[in-house]
Amino acid sequence: MSSSNRSRPQDTYEHIDHEEEALGGHLSRLGNIRGYRASAIMTFRGELLATHAADSQYDLREVGKTFNDIFRTAHEVSEKIGLKACLEIVINTPQGIVVMHCSGVDAPIHFHLLTILAADGNLALTKMELAKITAPIMAELS
């Protein structure tokens, strides 16, 4: 076996680690936002691709799946009433804010971003950052 073959990352799944690391890097941009708690990138079916947390109290696999289901139902319903599939849902609670953002159902890669903030977290900045990181994440996943 030649040395170039031995160094191919697909034999060691290193490429997957690199991809997760790169995706996590995009999420780390959210880490500077006031009130930031946790975030995740998921396929539109709710499978986790990358996570980032400032607060380990959340089981992001479980939380992601649950809120992804809500988001997908909202996609279907908003389409049904002629408003097209939703791009974002913001859920406000007394203890925090959950933001789900969609890359677009017709985008080259349809994925979802989940972000959890404290109740007084900076929602406007979060929305802006989510919009900004969507394109580089899409490029990473393509």
Partner: protein
């Protein structure tokens, strides 16, 4: 004051399409619409289901039941507001706006009308 009169305040907000006050199970108590394509009975009940699922989900992760959900689409915004699961009357308000509608003002109006609507329903 009739419940419908509380929905009047939304009419002045930029991008307004329709609104309704529902009990927490999704039954319409009062409604208003200037868009004939929106069937508030169906839309209200469907989004109420989403909202109730969000109540449960946010409770489950320790954030307490949600008070508000805003769903943005390329063609519009749907805002759902809860009076509070432990309030003396637990009701939901839904308002639908065009995509460029003034959702900040809509949210403020929803917040302001809660005590009066609650008194009306008590």
């Amino acid at each position: 004051m009739a419940l419908e009169s509380y929905l009047e305040r939304f009419k002045k907000i930029n991008g307004y399409k329709a609104s309704a006050i529902m009990n927490f199970t999704g039954e319409i108590l009062a409604q208003d619409s200037n868009d004939p394509n929106i069937d508030l009975g169906l839309v209200g009940a469907t989004f109420n289901d989403i909202f109730r699922t969000a109540h449960e989900a946010s409770n489950k992760i320790g954030l307490e039941a949600c008070r508000e959900a805003a769903i943005s689409t390329p063609k519009g915004i749907i805002i759902m507001r809860c009076s509070g699961v432990k309030a003396k009357v637990h009701y939901h308000t839904i308002a639908i706006f065009s995509a460029d509608g003034n959702q900040a003002l809509a949210k403020m109006e929803m917040e302001k009308m809660i005590p009066a609507v609650m008194d009306e329903l008590a």
